[in-house]
């Protein structure tokens, strides 16, 4: 347990020093404030829109950004240590592979969480103050947004570990991470939409919507958009998914499940890796 905290503390400090935390928080804040400001101009108004509209447009952008940031943050976690010779050295210390991986995860997950809370949270406070307050339900929605955004980041951090323990070159880890990002953010939804169009006329095509659970970015989208009536009408994929399985709380649980499964997979593969 001690070993996990030592590794986690180092990773987090590295994150602070390399300004990862500051950079991510800043990007999130600028994005949120920018969307709030320019989101209004689309509907012909000047000034800040409401928090509700901001959440909807922010979710669509966060889907692209958060996985990318998380993969960038963590893709070289293991392969990077291997290439600089420190992985072998670490493993000759009283430290198990699972502890090293968990320590890294606690560190990276904290970086992601702190940056998300600071960036989006700070922006939300600012927007709410300027646009004249928000009610309790809206704050709950925003809280859910921050939690699910953090979880989405964690999913992709864990995914980056799977890549990092499998490859034997850092550049390859970067390449595979980008491909995964491309797959989950773009290709998957395109294929799913295609399948739905083809299935349009036949009955029983509903199972297709459950495929959304195979993509953490879709779960994030669903969790944040299904709460808003207005959003349902213009977001294609979320329209098809209804029912208790797609309740925001359930989706959050599913996202957490993704984290656990991917971390376990990374741990299992790491134990088999020859150092």
């Amino acid at each position: 347990m001690r070993a996990i905290w030592i590794v986690a503390a180092k990773e987090f400090r590295d994150g602070l020093r390399s300004r990862w935390v500051a950079a991510i928080a800043l990007v999130f804040a600028v994005l949120a404030i920018g969307l709030a400001y320019f989101g209004a101009s689309a509907s012909g108004m000047v000034g800040f829109t409401s928090l509700a509209t901001t959440i909807v447009s922010l979710s669509s952008l966060a889907i692209f950004l958060i996985p990318l940031i998380a993969l960038l943050l963590a893709y070289d976690s293991i392969i990077g240590e291997d290439e600089q010779g420190t992985l072998l050295l670490l493993l000759t210390h009283p430290l198990r592979r699972s502890q090293l991986l968990l320590g890294k995860f606690v560190g990276h997950a904290s970086i992601m969480a702190v940056a998300t809370v600071l960036g989006f949270g700070g922006a939300a406070l600012l927007i709410a103050t300027i646009s004249g307050g928000a009610d309790g339900e809206l704050w709950r929605a925003f809280g859910l947004f921050i939690i699910s955004a953090t979880l989405l980041g964690w999913v992709f951090i864990a995914m980056a570990y799977v890549v990092s323990v499998v490859v034997n070159e850092k550049s390859r880890a970067a390449g595979v991470s980008l491909l995964l990002w491309f797959w989950f953010v773009l290709i998957f939804d395109l294929l799913l939409l295609g399948a739905m169009v083809l299935n349009k006329n036949s009955a029983g095509g509903e199972w297709l919507s459950y495929l959304l659970l195979l993509n953490p970015t879709d779960m994030f989208r669903l969790a944040n958009l299904s709460g808003f009536e207005a959003a349902r009408n213009y977001t294609g994929l979320t329209y098809v998914a209804g029912g208790p399985l797609f309740d925001p709380m359930m989706l959050t649980v599913f996202l957490s499940l993704w984290v656990v499964v991917l971390l376990s997979l990374a741990g299992w593969l790491f134990n088999r890796r020859r150092v």
Partner: protein, 313 residues
């Protein structure tokens, strides 16, 4: 040193290691006794690093037994054993963005050592002034010294050093071995690998020669050389116009060849070397004599040919 009375720190018996179709180690028997410096010699790919990884429990042997401090280095006790182990990998660049002090602190925390010792440790390896500089700015020699400081954290009973002086200039190499000798004086045993012989002869008590995954010979260097009866090479230069060497050297088991009119190379078995030297010294035309001892290459060549196991242990 009387073997057998004290339990060895490391004991390998009939160790085999195979992976990906490579037979990396074949039937290795090896012991490291308390307080000794054992040199693990061999060309690249001979199995030196694999042997070290097995000892430290990073790899598992395919067959045979590996014992570190009397226990298996893999499994439940392993964490406890590793507190008494210091390791310096080959080619470790550490964390470029951290300072030397921070790197040392990180590993000290993992080993459960007192951080207060670290300043003194950095002073001892000569990094006192550089301890707050980023490791990325260190020279190779400084990195190796930081590596040694890291390895001796927590006063280990066994120090494993993988090619510690590869890439160091002769002065840094000398410094490094001086520090290793100091560590040994405190009762720590050292297992160090090298693919070159010069520089380490004076510091190792015994050597084990590995070649293609086999233990070719093990014992003191003098003993191994004597058993191998390797010839010495003598180079002479001077002005010896008119000397008939064929006749002068008759009766000596020596091979010679002229490099040019002023230089000549003679090869002779170790035990007859002095006789030849006396003869050469009496030759007035010779202005310089240079003697080269057999190199690691010669030793390899010999033990590879003969396949001798356990010459002297």
């Amino acid at each position: 040193m009387s073997y057998g009375t004290v339990a060895p720190l490391v004991e390998l018996q009939g160790v085999e290691k195979r992976y990906d179709g490579v037979h990396a180690l074949r039937g290795i028997d090896l012991r490291v006794e308390p307080g000794e410096i054992l040199g693990l010699l061999g060309h690249n790919g001979a199995g030196k690093t694999t042997t070290m990884k097995l000892i430290m429990g990073v790899l598992q042997a395919t067959a045979g037994t590996v014992r570190l401090f009397g226990h298996s280095p893999i499994g439940g006790d392993a964490d406890q054993l590793r507190r008494h182990l210091g390791y310096l990998p080959e080619n470790v660049s550490f964390y470029q963005h951290l300072s030397g002090r921070e790197v040392l602190d990180y590993f000290a925390r993992l080993k459960g050592c007192d951080l207060k010792e670290n300043s003194r440790l950095l002073e001892r390896v000569g990094l006192g002034d550089a301890s707050h500089r980023r490791v990325g700015t260190y020279s190779k020699g400084m990195r190796q010294r930081l590596g040694l400081a890291q390895a001796v954290l927590g006063a280990p009973r066994l120090l494993v050093l993988d090619e510690p002086t590869a890439g160091l200039d002769p002065e840094a190499t000398g410094d490094f071995y001086t520090m290793i000798d100091e560590v040994r004086e405190q009762g720590c045993a050292v297992l160090l690998s090298s693919h070159v012989l010069p520089g380490i002869e004076r510091h190792v008590d015994r050597v084990a020669i590995l070649g293609s995954g086999r233990l070719l010979g093990c014992g003191s260097l003098a003993r191994l050389s004597a058993d191998a009866a390797l010839p010495s090479t003598i180079r002479i230069s001077g002005d010896w116009a008119g000397v008939d060497w064929q006749q002068r050297l008759a009766g000596h088991p020596v091979e010679f060849r002229h490099i040019n009119g002023h230089r000549m190379e003679l090869t002779i078995g170790g035990e007859r070397k002095l006789e030849l030297m006396r003869l050469l010294l009496s030759e007035s035309g010779i202005s310089d004599i240079e003697v080269s001892q057999p190199t690691l290459n010669d030793l390899y060549a010999y033990y590879n040919r003969s396949g001798v196991q356990e010459v002297a242990s």
